[in-house]
Symmetry: C2
Subunit: 182 residues, 2 copies
């Protein structure tokens, strides 16, 4: 909005906002790595059991369960969004006074947080079922056979839940920046 580059030394509040913008930039990079790692580790999960009958080869892939496919898609979308958002994040480091773009970031960050949480929680519900099973519904714990499949899918949740925490921090920092500015 204001085309003038404000220098931190002249305006202490702008200096604080620039510091927040730099932290914002690095948190976004952390979140990119976390979501990308989640998507890749889930997307490459594929276990074949060492024994097989004449007709059936026992094999577990991530896309046997639609929820895991959704998890990979959600993480990929969030990861791509984060790469694009880096441009706005850099512009906030240079022009610490802009506020319209901060509002845009808050809105998209919130939507992406919802998408990421949705994918991670749905996958967590299925992973829990795979580990524990459910006697009432006769759903058996498949982890007894597909051990490494279960470990891989459980592990890939970590990146997503980490990125969720980062997103909450990002929204918090954007809100503080918006309230500080005057």
């Amino acid at each position: 909005m204001a085309g003038i580059i404000q220098l931190g030394e002249k305006n202490p509040k702008a200096g604080v906002n620039r510091g927040v913008a730099v932290v914002d930039f690095f948190l976004r990079i952390v979140a990119i790595i976390a979501t990308l790692a989640s998507a890749i580790s889930m997307g490459t999960t594929d276990e074949s059991l060492p024994f097989f009958t004449q007709f059936i080869r026992f094999r577990a892939k991530y896309n046997d369960l639609p929820t895991f496919t959704f998890f990979v898609v959600a993480n990929s979308i969030v990861s791509a969004y984060l790469v694009l958002s880096l441009a706005l994040s850099i512009s906030h480091i240079i022009r610490s006074g802009s506020r319209n773009s901060r509002v845009v970031l808050i809105i998209f960050d919130t939507a992406m947080l919802a998408l990421l949480t949705s994918g991670a929680s749905a996958a967590a519900a299925i992973v829990y079922l795979a580990h524990k099973g459910n006697t009432k519904t006769n759903w058996f714990a498949i982890c007894q056979q597909y051990n490494s499949f279960c470990e891989r899918t459980s592990g890939s949740l970590i990146g997503s839940f980490g990125a969720m925490v980062v997103f909450i921090l990002l929204i918090l920092m954007s809100a503080v920046s918006l309230s500080r500015r005057h």
Copy 2:
């Protein structure tokens, strides 16, 4: 922060903020009803099948599946939070200039959005499984037997997903209010 009550007629920006605060208040009431309805309709789901053997009575309750228990807990927590947040929402209608409390609301709204999304998505993943089953993992579709149980649990998701949309709107409006004020 500013102890002075600003009147909308004197300051057009404060007037717009007051309008936003009134909408915020009503959206919160809508979200309370939605999450409460979700929690109650899921929490009272209990189906007994009309046939039974000598030893087993076929019965499906929501807490047979831990994910549904989490769904009820998450919706109840969010609903309780929303009732408490009405106090801050009312204070924003009266004092449309306050900004610290708006930042507090954004942060808590974001955290509650994450909790609600998490509960709703995990429950949706299980409901999907109950409807479709999964042949690869030998998890059978229980909806063929427990018809009304499945309809009830599927229906109770609607309130939660509606409340998620309301939360995203609330965060958006808070962000716009913060950026408007000067």
